[in-house]
Subunit: 223 residues, 2 copies
DNA sequence: ACCTGAACACCGTTCAAGT
DNA sequence: ACCTGAACACCGTTCAAGT
């Protein structure tokens, strides 16, 4: 089934290389080698590396299954975002690949369509529904980008992943207290919270905001 | 003043190269050339390119001035985020450089200290203040990353920047209406809103959520 | 229509050698 | 202490040539 050299096969091969070698190791030559082919061959199917990364971006969303369509919309969208986060986290450097890329691939379209449908059903206006999806996906992407950053840093410096947070705490505590009183005093509060807790905090803020917005929409419609 | 080859001078040179050539054109050799020096020389001051990018990340925040410390905290933080956004937008590929990088440079520390101070004064707990800054900066970064993406795409494809949004709208409208009813029907609502409007929408959601959170904190404290 | 060999102009990084 | 020349092992991309 992998015999044919197609765009889909190239995307899957790129994914395997990314998982194994990271973004820095993702070269046209290695993706080609993964497919037992020479680098130049890829250029028949793909304009350049940018386009290959676009294919890879949609490929990375392949496993994404929407949460069950039951219960309050708020719970559904919390799940949506947690799933999105876990998916990105599950592949090395995934957020860096996806971030800053404008792709309307089949998986993106499928997920977007489903989200918009649920938001409309919940009572959001078309404009608010569209804007809500932008907000949520940007937040998830920005947050996972931050979350995967220390891991990348740990790789280059050779330090362990968990130690990075502790090291950050140390660094903050060691700052001059005259110029950075808050950073010193709040060192634990800053470096302490686990990544998932940080993620959930902001997520609930956005969901709170959306709920208020929906309430106002309904009140206006009732007039 | 630029005679000495220091880490600060290297960071400034990297910024100039980034603005002129973009992230793809930012090579050790070009940064070195910008300083009338050979690439190998940089390695005396900097471990590797990753570390140079870390320096550049903090350098990119150099011009960031906090908004005046007056009026409601909510207005102050709206301004903070708008400033942060404009700053990133003002340098080509800035979001891609900053994103996914864990840097506690002088500028980051200075801005973070100031933000935490204002949040504490507004009545947030240390934990909530720390979490709020994570949420806001992740959101800004994720959003600007999206915003700079079409520009990057326009460069490689040769299309104009404004046309990209229109093209996205066209693409959505042209989708099969049976499988993507919402994407087709809402094509305008999705591709229409200007970038700053999209940014402000999500920003107000987060600020709404923070306001609620603060109200609850105060209610609990009053008991 | 699809793949390859060979080449071009670049990379990041190292290290012995210079001053 | 700081910079360079020269080299190494890679890159992305092109294109004439093969089948």
């Amino acid at each position: 089934m992998d015999g044919a050299l197609t765009r889909a096969a190239i995307a899957r091969a790129a994914r395997r290389v990314l998982e194994r070698e990271g973004l820095a190791g993702l070269s046209m030559r290695r993706v080609a080698a993964e497919l037992d082919v020479k680098a130049a061959s890829l250029y028949w199917h793909v304009r350049n590396k940018e386009e290959l990364l676009d294919l890879l971006t949609d490929e990375l969303l392949t496993g994404a299954e929407p949460p069950p369509r039951e219960g309050p919309w708020r719970d559904q969208f919390r799940e949506y975002c947690l799933i999105h986060r876990r998916l990105l986290l599950s592949v090395r450097d995934a957020a860096k690949v996806v971030g800053g890329r404008f792709v309307l691939g089949p998986n993106v379209l499928r997920l977007l369509e489903e989200q918009l449908d649920r938001l409309r059903e919940a009572g959001f206006t078309p404009e608010d529904a569209a804007l809500a999806t932008y907000t949520l996906s940007s937040y998830v992407q920005g947050m996972v980008l931050q979350e995967q950053a220390p891991l990348a840093a740990a790789e280059t410096t050779g330090t362990g992943r968990g130690e990075i947070a502790a090291a950050a705490g140390e660094q903050l505590r060691g700052l001059p207290a005259e110029t950075f009183p808050n950073l010193v005093a709040m060192a634990d509060a800053i470096s302490g919270p686990a990544m998932e807790a940080r993620f959930r905090f902001g997520l609930e803020l956005v969901l709170d905001g959306l709920e208020e917005r929906l309430a106002r929409t309904r009140a206006a419609a009732a007039d």
